[in-house]
Symmetry: C2
Subunit: 183 residues, 2 copies
């Protein structure tokens, strides 16, 4: 499939893991790296890989969003939103030749000053292992490389602290996030 070709020819892996623990790496780790100097690649080596590839199976994405209890959205609109997002970031568990979508985030932007991050999600099986933070780091790195200076988001109350650990500040200088509801 075209997907895998793109994937492995321009790997954007930043993290590698065995079972539960994972290391963040600046080097590319996709390929048959022997993982711990013992010269042996275990058959079930697990890697966490990041991508900005937009060729996402929408049903797989829906499954991921279902897993955290988000209400379903028309796939037609999800497709449109992905096409028109400035950045789409996915996180995959790769074991041998199999891959599983375990994280997602996207950002809208004017391509110049502002970006706004939406729909950050990590599959419950993979939460609380630092992977949400790794995904966000990946997103921020990509946005910075595009010279976006103002990175924003709207955080549900239970994840405000999650974003704080990454350097996000709520209501800086009294700036308020506002949502419009027809009167």
């Amino acid at each position: 499939m075209g997907f895998w070709k793109t994937w492995f020819s321009t790997p954007e892996a930043v993290a590698s893991s065995r079972t539960n623990s994972f290391e963040e790496m600046s080097a590319e780790v996709v390929g048959n790296s022997s993982s711990n100097g013992e010269g042996v690649t275990p058959p079930k080596e697990t890697r966490i890989v990041f991508s900005t590839e937009r060729d996402i199976d929408l049903y797989e994405l829906e499954e991921l969003c279902d897993a955290v209890g988000w209400s379903r959205r028309p796939l037609r609109k999800v497709k449109k939103a992905i096409e028109h997002s400035f950045l789409v970031a996915t996180m995959w568990q790769v074991r041998g030749t199999q891959r599983r979508l375990i994280g997602f985030a996207r950002a809208t932007s004017d391509h110049a000053f502002n970006a706004t991050i939406w729909d950050v999600v990590v599959h419950p099986d993979f939460q609380a292992k630092g992977l949400g933070k790794a995904l966000m780091k990946y997103v921020l790195k990509k946005l910075r490389s595009e010279e976006i200076s103002n990175v924003t988001l709207f955080a549900d109350p239970h994840v405000v602290d999650f974003y704080r650990t990454m350097g996000f500040v709520a209501d800086p200088e009294g700036i308020k996030g506002m949502f419009w509801y027809p009167q």
Copy 2:
């Protein structure tokens, strides 16, 4: 100029004014409407006209932003931001054949679910006459016509009440606007 052709062939005027007062109109008012049934069009009739045309003189826009004390931004980036905004709304004072840029707003979006409004400004000479509200109504109408359900913005503390008058709510259900600052 192409600008005027587009302008008058697809008028999107929603407001008409004489000196200070103005009326919002659902009908198109651009053209030589005799304004109050007396059958006379005064030579200095003033109309306020709205547009989504992106062919904006960047120096005129810079002047408008200067007038409210915003710090200058590289025009190259302003141009890019305008190109990549989902919606660009301008407000003009039209007197005879002259036009003057007196208001501006733009929105980024994923074209499906979310839009975020940025850079809302009304020239000081025209503030506190209801024109900011009219501009925002125009923006909201355009976003709604594109089926955007979630309209958001980040409001400076001194304009939170301005947006409240239009139905914007700060921190609904505890959702927090957050800005990223590199640690």
